[in-house]
Amino acid sequence: MEKVRVLLVDDEPSFTRMLKLNLEKRGFTVMVENNGAYAYTVAQDFMPDFIFLDVIMPDVDGGEVAAKLRRDPNFKDTPIVFLTAGVSREATKAKGNIIGGQQYLAKPVTVDEVVATIEKVMKKKTKATPASPRG
């Protein structure tokens, strides 16, 4: 089975670096982007199976990135999970729902939780759309 490709978009390099190390150790293929404005371009290039999006970023926030991705048929169904260090879980959820993000994770989070989230969402997706472009 091909490795699951995970795109991490977060403005904090140390955060993405650490998460990348961990996910690679657990067998994922990981691409990192620290600038929300480039996230879409990188996604087009990398074609991820799964995207983690930081909610609060300086230039373009996670919500905007997600909206842009969703407008592209290529990423219409790509699972997006928001990562938030912010206050209002409710607000995050609401925003995530509107733009189609399935779930959010509140920082700090353990690697186990991150991996569990990926696996859960991927499983659901495989069930829902068996003819997924990537296996």
């Binding site: 140390s14 650490m18 961990n22 260090a85 912010g86 206050v87 700090p108 353990t110 690697v111």
Partner: protein, 370 residues
């Protein structure tokens, strides 16, 4: 010349007769109208051509007015110092009121601070949670990368993980406090919430050898409550009680229905009063057999960040959160020492809903204890 001054004649004039001069001798004389006046005497002998003193030139100046002026001057200088004293007093008063103004300003600043805690919390959360996340990932990575970690390495990793958890819970407390503003209330059974809260603190109870006693009145009216938030209140109060009994003790959780008959600070007859006379309320008490509350701490108990616990143990947000939540429910909370001493008691008063089966508010008057 006043009789008591007659002696001056023998004192002054012989000298003048011998050719002496008297210069501005101050004494008292009687005016023609009988009034005593103060005078200044200057006497100069007048000689004949042989040089013998034959007569004298006497200049007598009425100095009463001058003297008066002098006295007045003296008095007014006293008055001046009086005024100076008054000024000084005014200055002190001014300084005091300035101090008071300053402390009022301080309170205002504090209030403003409180208001901005929400915004602050958001900022702090973002700035702190990210680094915490990095640390946690790093710890996870190390834990998986070190082939055969010895005991010390495991302790280090566990400690680091726990430290992250602790810092995270402080931030969460801050967020709870700042986002406690929105309620999603639903009809709740208070006893059920109290029991659930007791379940949540079960670990702390056993760890501290605290025995829990339930004194719950059954058949309480239900209440419109935000379950999670009210549970948070009960848990905070229970944890405080447990913390006050480090060597064990008894935690008593009591619920009862009460009818307000006495006017208290928050009970009245006006519609605007938080609770009105005759209204039926639900009272929840959390009591301990612990250290009790220090009198000096009393006025600050509900202040955010006020804690007497060591760093890492308490954030001082527990009661602040409780107060905000209870107030949002239109209830009241107070905490004090038990009448006989030997522990503290927190009392939460909440509104009950009028039960459907019948204006029961009218029938079973007063609480029925079990």
């Amino acid at each position: 010349m006043p009789p008591e001054r007659l002696h001056e004649l023998s004192e002054i004039y012989p000298g003048v007769a011998r050719g002496g001069v008297i210069d501005q001798f101050e004494t008292v004389r009687i005016r023609r109208d009988g009034v005593h006046i103060e005078v200044s005497l200057s006497i100069m002998p007048i000689r004949d051509r042989n040089g013998r003193v034959t007569s004298a030139l006497i200049i007598m100046r009425d100095i009463t007015a001058a003297q008066l002026a002098l006295q007045e001057a003296a008095q007014s200088s006293e008055k001046l110092s009086d005024r100076e004293r008054m000024l000084k007093r005014a200055l002190v008063a001014l300084r005091e009121s300035h101090e008071r103004a300053k402390s009022a300003q301080l309170q205002l600043v504090q209030a403003a601070k409180l208001e901005s805690i929400g915004r602050l919390a958001a900022g702090v959360a973002h700035e702190v949670k990210n680094p915490l996340a990095v640390i946690l990932f790093a710890v996870d990575y190390l834990a998986e990368s070190i082939p055969n970690p010895d005991g010390n390495i495991q302790v280090a990793l566990t400690d680091a993980r726990e430290a992250v958890g602790r810092a995270d819970s402080v931030i969460r407390g801050l967020l709870d406090f700042s986002t406690a503003t929105e309620l999603s209330p639903s009809e709740q059974d208070v006893n059920k919430l109290v029991r659930r809260s007791l379940q949540l603190v079960r670990h702390s109870l056993t760890k501290s050898h605290v025995f829990a006693v339930e004194e719950m009145e059954e058949g309480l009216p239900s209440a419109m409550l935000d379950r999670n938030k009210i549970e948070q209140v009960f848990v905070n109060l229970m944890i405080n009680a447990i913390d006050a009994m480090p060597t064990g003790g008894t935690l008593i959780v009591r619920t009862r229905r009460d009818r307000l008959t006495v006017m208290g600070s928050d009970v009245g007859v006006r519609k605007t009063d938080r609770f009105q006379v005759g209204q039926s309320v639900i009272v929840v008490e959390v009591e301990d057999t612990g250290t009790g509350i220090d009198e000096t701490a009393r006025p600050r108990l509900f202040d955010p960040f006020f804690t007497t616990k060591p760093p890492g143990k308490g954030t001082g947000l527990g009661l602040a959160v409780c107060k905000t939540i209870v107030a949002l429910h239109g209830g009241t909370i107070r905490i004090g020492n038990k009448e006989g001493g030997g522990g503290a008691r927190a009392t939460v008063v909440l509104h009950g809903i009028r039960s459907k089966e019948g204006q029961s508010d009218g029938e079973g008057a007063g609480p029925t204890r079990r």
